[in-house]
Subunit: 394 residues, 2 copies
C-alpha cells in the first residue's frame, strides 16, 4: 500500500475532487458558478483550476455565443474527455489483464493476454504497457491526475515484510514505465471492490466477496471502500479453520477452508470417492452427467463455504455476498448447499437481509478493481456529497 | 441509526468541522488566518462563523493588546470551553450511565445510577437528564452543535423492524428532553468504539471488541469509525456457530458462541462438573481457590472464544482485540486459552500483528461511545487531515 500524501496534500486533493465532481455532475460551469457551488475561495479555486488545466483533466471553453463587445467573453470549464483518469492492471498468475477509465469514470476498454507462470516481472510490465497501448490507440492522454491501480497475487502487507520485495520493486518498475503513481493491492480484494461497483453487487456499500479457485480468498467492501485491515491482512477467508484436525494448509495452519473448498481439494475429494477427473473441466463434466460422487464432493465444499459465510455475515453484516472463481461454474451443486448452510448458521434476524450472488466480472475484475482503487484514493472523494441536486439521503 | 442530513447539509457540516478542527489545534485564530488555513471563501467562512458564534461553540476575543487608533482592533476567534459538544447516555439493562465532553473533546465527567430492569422509558430518560444535570452544574451550555449519542441493549437495525418501536420512540423522547439531535446504536458496539478511542485500544484504527457477559456481543471499529453493516446487524459475534449440534440459543439458532461463553453457560458447565456456584462471584472465588472444575469451565469457553477471534482476525485484520465484560475477571484462566486458540487458528503471518487486551473503560464505555458517535457523526470529520502542522502521515 502506498502512503505518499501528507494532510495538506490530502486537503488539496479533496478540493480537486470536489471541483472535478461538480464538473462531472453539472457539465460545463463558469468560474464563478464553481466558486458558489464549492464554497472555495477565489485563490484556492484559481490554484486548483490552474493545476487541473495544466495536467489536461480540465479544459477551458470560450462561449462563442456570448454577447460581444461587453468585456471578456464568458469562459466555462469542462472535463476533458480525452484525459485518462486511471489504469487498472491485474498481474494474475498466468495472465495480465488491463482496463482504463476516462475522467468521466467511463470504462474505455479492457484487454487480457495469457503468459507462462515464470515470466519475469520486466516482461509482464512490458506486456501490460503493450495492452494499455492497444486500448489507447494514441487518442487517450494520461494527465498528471492519472494513476495506475495494480492487483497482484498473494497477501499485500506492510512493506518490508517477508516476500514483499517484489511488491516494492513492482511499483517502481511501473512508475518508470507509465510515469504516474502506482497503487497496489491483492487482486482478489480488488475483484471484490470491482464487483461492488460494476458487478454482481453494483452499488453495494457492504459487500463480502469469496473466490473459490486454485486458492480460496476474498475481500470486504465496507462503506463503499475496500477494507484492508490494520496490516493489509484482511479478506483471508480461505484460512479460517473449518475442520478440527483437518489437512495441512499451505499457510502453515491446518483445516483451513482452502483445504476443503479449493479446486484441488474438491477434485481430491472426488477422486477419493472413485472419480477420475484431474481438472475442473472433468469434474464439471461429471456433474453435468449427474455423477453422485462429483455432486457430493461439490456439496461438501458448499456446506463449509456457507458456514464460513454465515459467521462472517454475523460479524460484518453485508447486504450482498458475491461468490466468484472457477468453482462457481458448478452452479446449483455448489450454491444449493452454500444457501442451506448460510440459512442454518446466520443470525435468524439477518437471514433475509443478505443476498448471495455469483460474480459477473470474470477475469477483468482485478483490473477494474485497480481502477476503483485509484478513484477511491482520495480519502475525501467518497465522502463529499454525491450530488447536491438530488436532495436528501435515502 | 439517524439519517437526517442531505448532501448540502453534510458539506456545510464538513466545513464547520474543518473550522472547529483548526481552532481546536491552533487555539485562537483571526478570520483571515482561518480563511488561509481552511481554503474557504469569505462568504462561506462568514456564514459558518456566524452560525458557530450564534450557537455558542465559538466566541470572539478582542485583542486588547493590539495597537490602538489604527482602525478596528484585531479580533480573534476561539472555541468556547463552556459549550457542551456532546452527551453520551448508555441505557443498560439495569442502569443508566452518562458522560459529557466539551468542544475541545475533553471528557467533562461521567455518572451512573442503577435501577430496576422494568423501569419505564420515561423514567429512564428522566434519570439520564438528572445525571447530566449533576455533571453540568449549570456551568455547561449545550449549544446547537451538541447532540446526544445513545446506547441501548440489543440489535439496532433498520427503523420499522421487529422490536424497533421502542427505538423510534426513544430518540423522540430524548430530543424533547435535551432539545438536540439523538443518535442511537447498540451499547456494546459503542463500547467497542470507546475502547478504540479512550480505552485499551486507544488510537487503534481497526479494532475487534468482544464482550463476555450475560450475553456475548461485540463491535468492529474499521478505519477509526464504528462499523454498522448494511442493516445495522454487525458485531453479532455471540451468534457465530462454534458447535455442531450445540445447545439452542436465544437467537433461534444452535451452538452459538453465546451458548458456550456467556456467564450463564460457563456457570452451567461448572455445575455440570460438580461446581456449586450460581453466580459469577462464586465461580471467581472457586477459581481463586484453584478449583480444577472452575478452571476447566472457563478454559473451555476461552478456547471457543479464541477460535472465533482467529476467524474474525483472518477476515478483518485488526491490530488490537479487546475482551470486555464481567467474565474477563477470570483473568489468565480465560486469557490463556484464548491466546492459545488464537495462535493456533490465526493466519500464521498475522500472528504477531494482533494484540489481545482486556477492556479498560468498564461500565462507562457505552456512554463514552455515544459521545464518540456524535463526534464522528459528520461524515467528513474523521477524513479531514488530522493536523496540517504535523507533516506526513506515518
Amino acid at each position: 500500500m502506498q502512503r505518499r500524501s501528507g494532510p495538506l496534500t490530502q486537503l488539496r486533493r479533496g478540493h480537486e475532487e470536489l471541483v472535478l465532481g461538480l464538473l462531472r455532475r453539472h457539465g460545463p460551469l463558469s468560474r464563478s458558478a464553481l466558486g458558489t457551488h464549492s464554497g472555495l475561495s477565489r485563490t484556492t479555486l484559481h490554484e486548483i483550476l490552474t493545476a487541473l488545466t495544466a495536467n489536461g483533466a480540465v479544459t477551458t471553453v470560450r462561449q462563442e455565443s456570448a454577447p460581444r463587445g461587453r468585456g471578456r467573453p464568458a469562459e466555462t470549464l469542462t472535463l476533458n474527455p480525452d484525459a485518462g483518469q486511471a489504469i487498472g492492471i491485474d498481474f494474475a498468475r498466468r495472465a495480465v489483464h488491463v482496463a482504463i477509465v476516462n475522467v468521466a469514470h467511463e470504462v474505455v476498454g479492457s484487454a487480457s493476454e495469457a503468459h507462462e507462470a515464470d515470466l519475469p516481472w520486466d516482461d509482464r510490465a512490458e506486456l501490460a504497457e503493450r495492452l494499455v497501448g492497444s486500448l489507447v490507440e494514441g487518442s487517450l492522454r494520461l494527465g498528471a491526475l492519472s494513476a495506475v491501480g495494480v492487483g497482484v497475487v498473494g497477501p499485500v502487507g506492510d512493506p518490508g515484510e517477508d516476500g514483499a520485495q517484489r511488491l516494492t520493486d513492482l511499483p517502481r518498475l511501473l512508475r518508470k514505465r507509465f510515469g504516474v503513481p502506482v497503487l497496489l493491492d491483492n487482486n482478489t480484494r480488488l475483484a471484490a471492490l470491482a464487483e461492488s461497483i460494476w458487478g454482481a453487487a453494483a452499488g453495494g456499500q457492504d459487500v463480502l466477496y469469496l473466490r473459490l479457485s486454485h486458492g480460496v480468498g476474498g475481500g470486504l467492501v465496507v462503506g463503499g471502500a475496500l477494507h484492508r485491515g490494520a496490516h493489509g491482512l484482511s479478506g483471508e477467508f480461505g484460512h479460517i479453520t473449518v475442520e478440527q484436525n483437518g489437512s495441512r494448509c499451505g499457510c502453515g495452519g491446518a483445516g483451513c477452508l482452502e483445504t476443503v473448498a479449493s479446486i484441488r481439494a474438491v477434485l481430491q475429494n472426488y477422486r477419493a470417492e472413485g472419480g477420475r477427473a484431474r481438472k475442473l473441466s472433468g469434474l464439471l463434466g461429471a456433474l453435468s452427467e449427474d455423477d453422485p460422487a462429483a455432486r457430493r464432493a461439490v456439496n461438501a465444499a458448499g456446506g463449509k463455504v456457507g458456514a464460513v459465510l454465515a459467521a462472517l455475515c454475523n460479524a460484518v453484516g453485508p447486504s450482498v455476498i458475491v461468490l466468484g472463481g472457477e468453482l462457481t461454474e458448478a452452479g446449483d451443486a455448489l450454491f444449493g448447499p452454500v444457501e442451506s448452510a448460510l440459512d442454518e448458521h446466520i443470525l435468524p434476524m439477518s437471514r433475509h437481509k443478505v443476498s448471495l450472488r455469483r460474480a459477473t466480472l470474470g477475469d477483468v475484475g482485478g483490473a477494474l478493481g485497480g481502477i476503483a482503487l485509484v478513484l477511491h484514493e482520495s480519502p475525501l472523494l467518497s465522502h463529499y456529497p454525491a450530488d447536491p441536486d438530488q436532495g436528501e439521503d435515502s
